[in-house]
């Protein structure tokens, strides 16, 4: 084309640029080498993984406190590493503080987490909570994780609206329907539902109606015993056992806000905080979000009644945080000392009180949070269940199925699909 005469580029500047780039690279290489060591002069450095963004600051103050209390162990917090990559590289965090749900299943069931059964802290755990862990993921003969925080979810309700319209907290399904009618007549949406975000339906309407009617752990135990053939003819199946719960879900869905199909989680928090609906099916995680809009809101909780027997009332729980130490960690002792520090009653109980959660130990104090006291009774009586949507393996898109029911599909074909998925998965594994 148009060849310009080659400009004489001063050699020095290019060379010094390359040297600069090289030095930068060497710096990275050195930094990479320096990082894994760090156990000089009797100080052990452990990495501590906690990824809940809202509590990172809180754990940073705990780490500072721990550093003050002793000089042998230094803790480095990690909130961004990719867990699978860490395990593949054989350099997992020395202490994990993570959701105990489907994300941890793979690690537990392959025996990647060490046994903590011999720690004194393991003996302080409330025996009612142990089955919850076992149901999520279990490695035979091991205490793979120590639960740290338990969140209980039920119906959040606007206390002021309930008082204004003279509605008492319903304990039977008929009461609930009557309450809904009252609100509807007054022009207030009884429920604010957010069908755009599938997970909100799965953890809300879907899990609550099932948990209020079906004995969830027993159902899944029998379902697993059924093997690879689950259909209308088998003794237990989704189509049979979830049918009436799904009918309730459809009925309650008719009391939702009219625009539910286009509303997401953020919209729900906003609308409930503004008093646009009387009830909101969300867990305590929504309380912080609601407080962003209306910090002084008068919120209470009650378990969703799905039958007419008040004895059936239960709340949905999940182990929000659990502590574990991987087998691959080379600094288990140091990690254990920080675990013990975190499990001290005053530290653990403060954490749970500050973060809208319930304790996991035998002598955890009752909650004083006005939004959660409504659930204390059920927590004490162990009237709780793990959400069905959490137990169904993540290969089955149960949240999407729940959404299609919420948006108007007939429950039967969806439940039949769920049976088929379950059978195929059982056959495969």
């Amino acid at each position: 084309m148009n060849p310009k005469p080659p400009l004489p580029v001063p050699g020095l500047s290019r060379r010094s640029f390359l040297i600069g780039a090289g030095a930068l690279g060497a710096g990275f290489a050195l930094a990479g080498c320096a990082a894994p060591g760090g156990s000089a002069s009797g100080v052990t450095e452990i990495s501590f993984y906690v990824s809940k963004p809202e509590v990172i600051g809180y754990f940073d103050t705990l780490i500072a406190k721990f550093h003050k209390s002793q000089a042998r162990v230094r803790v480095v917090r990690d909130s961004t590493s990719n867990m699978s990559a860490d395990f593949v590289r054989n350099s997992p965090p020395d202490l994990g503080c993570w959701n105990y749900n489907f994300s941890v299943v793979e690690f537990v069931e392959r025996g990647a987490l060490s046994d903590l059964g011999d720690m004194p802290e393991a003996a302080t755990i409330n025996p009612d909570i142990k089955p919850l862990l076992k149901e999520t993921a279990d490695y035979p003969g091991r205490t793979s994780a120590i639960p740290y925080s338990l969140t209980a979810a039920s119906v959040l309700y606007n206390k002021d609206l309930f008082t204004k319209y003279g509605v008492a907290v319903p304990t039977t399904y008929d009461d609930l329907v009557a309450a809904c009618e009252t609100f509807q007549k007054a022009g207030i949406a009884p429920f604010f539902n957010t069908y755009k975000d599938t997970w909100t339906i799965a953890q809300g309407l879907f899990d609550y109606t099932i948990g209020g009617m079906v004995d969830v752990p027993d159902f899944f135990k029998r379902l697993r015993a059924e093997g690879t053939k689950v259909d209308a003819a088998s003794s237990v199946s989704f189509q049979k056992d979830f049918r009436s719960a799904m009918d309730r879900m459809v009925q309650l869905g008719s009391y939702a806000n009219k625009n539910a199909a286009s509303r997401g989680y953020g919209d729900g928090n906003l609308a409930f905080a503004k008093g646009e609906a009387a009830m909101y099916l969300q867990g305590p995680w929504a309380l912080n979000e609601i407080a962003k809009t209306n910090a002084k809101m008068n919120v209470g909780t009650f378990p969703l009644p799905v039958t007419n027997d008040p004895k059936d009332l239960k709340v949905r729980v999940n182990v929000d945080l659990a502590l574990w130490i991987p087998e691959a960690s080379k600094k288990k002792e140091a990690a254990r000392s920080f675990l013990s520090f975190l499990m001290q009653p005053e530290i653990q109980n403060t954490y749970n009180a500050d973060n809208n959660a319930f304790g996991t130990t035998k002598n955890a104090p009752p909650t004083t949070n006005p939004a959660l006291v409504g659930m204390q009774k059920y927590y004490d009586d162990a009237a709780f269940y793990l959400g069905a949507s959490q137990i169904i393996p993540s290969e089955i898109p149960v949240a999407n199925y729940a959404q299609s029911i919420a948006l108007g599909s007939k429950p039967e074909p969806v439940l039949r699909q769920l049976d088929g998925d379950w059978s195929r998965l059982a056959l495969r594994s």
């Binding site: 084309m1 060849p3 310009k4 080659p6 400009l7 004489p8 580029v9 640029f17 390359l18 780039a21 930068l24 690279g25 990275f28 290489a29 930094a31 990479g32 080498c33 990082a35 894994p36 990495s47 990824s51 809940k52 963004p53 809202e54 990172i56 480095v76 917090r77 990690d78 909130s79 961004t80 590493s81 990719n82 990559a85 860490d86 593949v88 590289r89 054989n90 350099s91 997970w199 989680y265 953020g266 919209d267 928090n269 906003l270 995680w285 929504a286 912080n288 979000e289 962003k292 809009t293």
Partner: protein, 304 residues
Amino acid sequence: MSTQIPLATSTATGELAGTDADSVTTRRAGGRGERVNWPVTIVLIICSLAILVPLYVTLTMAFKTTSQAVDGNAFSLPAPFSVDGFVQAWNLTTFPRSFAISIGVSALTVVGTIILSSFAAFAISRNWNRRFFRWSFYYLLAALFLPFPVVALSQVKLTGLVHLDNPLGVAILHIMFQLGFSVLLFTAFLRSIPDELEESARLEGATTGQVFWQLIFPLLAPMSATVGIFAFLASWNDFVMPSLITSNPALQTLPVLQQIFQTQFSNNYNVSFASYLMAMAPAILVYLFTQRWVMAGVTQGAIK
């Protein structure tokens, strides 16, 4: 020699050149007060809105308070003007450090990509008649069909074994994954440089190194700018690779650290948008100053 004209590039350029020509015509017509090409103008207005509206939301969100950010009115102006989002984002990501690491990784990627791929392209285009060089060109191009997630786990394992599980390893992998596309661009561009130029330099007694550094590399400048910009954007915006490869959280890049602002259960729009704005700034600045060369480079690479 030039039997293999890369089709992909010329098509892309055809489109680019087309748009450019259209906009020029429109501008000229509008300026003279003559007939305006309305369909094209409307399309272009819509296209620019697609960029400007999100940018506007990003800007205003960043200066809102948390309670205003979640109120559902994305387009409202920040009522109490707040820089709280910036302060929080700055602290949560330890901005100076992560910014420096991101810059370092991107700079290494850009320099490495330009040098390595121009080397390769020079060797390949000057030895096109030899089978080894032709095949190595196809080999490098084959990398275009290899997305990172496919080889992610083995890369994680390998980088861990050789202690490259740090930003340096990320930069090396970025260079590798940029190589295919960059060699393609450089090779196409090198075809437009006449062999006679090189021959005359050789007659003067220049070695291959001198020919490359003093003759060819300066001529490649516009294409180097294009390749550099693509490499910069790919490296600067990458999330998956640094998040998987870097093991030390203190050496993590900016996009990975920003994931903590958004979870299933909480929204921190003002903090996240403030952070995105700070992260976006270099990419926008780089583009503003170098867009002339991007356009020039892309067109020169393909028109033959």
